[in-house]
Structure formats: C-alpha cells, structure tokens
Subunit: 88 residues, 2 copies
C-alpha cells in the first residue's frame, strides 16, 4: 500500500487530499475460485440455439453463459464489456 | 472517494493508517473503449481450427481471441480467469 497526503485548496481552509496508488486487481470476484484457472469448452456442433451468448464479465449467475449481468456491471462501474455471441 | 485516517500502533510512534473504501471498478481498461458495449460474434461454421481460444480477461492483444495474456494478469493479481475454448 502506497499513499501520500498533502494539503490543497484555493482560498479558505486547505482541504486534505489523499492520493492512493491503485494496484492491479482481479476481474473475477466469485466464479469457481477453487479452480486455478477457469477455462470452459464449447463443442460448437452441440449448440442448440441459433445464437448463444457467453459471459465475458465474470458476473453471470449462469456462467459460462451470459445472463445479462454485464448491464448492471457496466452501469455500476462505467465499463463497456459484453458477451461473445456464438452463431450457428 | 471516501476515506478516513487515524493513528494506530502498539508502543513507540503511532503510525498513520489510511482506510479507503473501494468502489466497484471496470474490468476492461483498454479494449475498444469508444464502443458503448463490446460484443463480438462468431459464426461457428467459419471456425478453421479444431480449437480456438476466445479471451475473457480483457487483456489480449488479439481480442476477441486469447493470446495468453490471462497468464500475466492472473500472476499479477492473484486472479483465476481463462479463455473460452471453441471446439469444432
Ligand atoms: S453476464 Fe457477463 S457478459 Fe453478460
Ligand atoms: S488473453 Fe484473455 S483469456 Fe487469454
């Protein structure tokens, strides 16, 4: 953890500002954390629907499938992620 | 940004500790940030190789394909993400 603090401000009372150096963080908070690496396979001949959406946001309740949770994630964080669509 | 600081420490000099409340952050730092939502499509009949790996870590230099960058991401962050493998 690295940080530093100093006083800033125009007129009036100086305001304390704390700068924090962000460290790289993971993108998967919850899914299959007991696995060293989460890899999934799709045998494409077995796809049943014309289009199947696969999750890339690591927030889906039906992972590896997309359940639309990327919408909430994008709204909460300002992110722009979405699924991979497999088309027959 | 919410934070607070206070003094702690056993004997000797108190040490300043700053607690920072983490906010939800995005998982895609760089890829196609001009797009509101990054969605890709694969027409599975056009896959050429027996196995094709698609990126789910948002760190690939060949996105939407996986280029192995998840390994570096996992090592740097303690994460456990990996690609989606499409098999013909
Ligand atoms: S729920 Fe994760 S990409 Fe849609
Ligand atoms: S490079 Fe992103 S999953 Fe492999």
């Amino acid at each position: 953890f690295k940080g530093c603090s100093f006083g800033v401000g125009g007129g009036g009372k100086p305001r304390r500002v704390v700068l924090v150096k962000a460290e790289a963080v993971g993108i998967n908070p919850d899914i299959r954390k007991s696995e060293e690496k989460v890899v999934d396979s799709v045998v494409v001949t077995e796809l049943s629907k014309p289009v199947t959406a696969y999750c890339r946001c690591w927030r889906s309740g039906t992972f590896p499938l997309c359940d639309g949770s990327h919408v909430k994630h994008n709204k909460a964080t300002g992110d722009n992620v979405g699924p991979l669509l497999l088309k027959k």
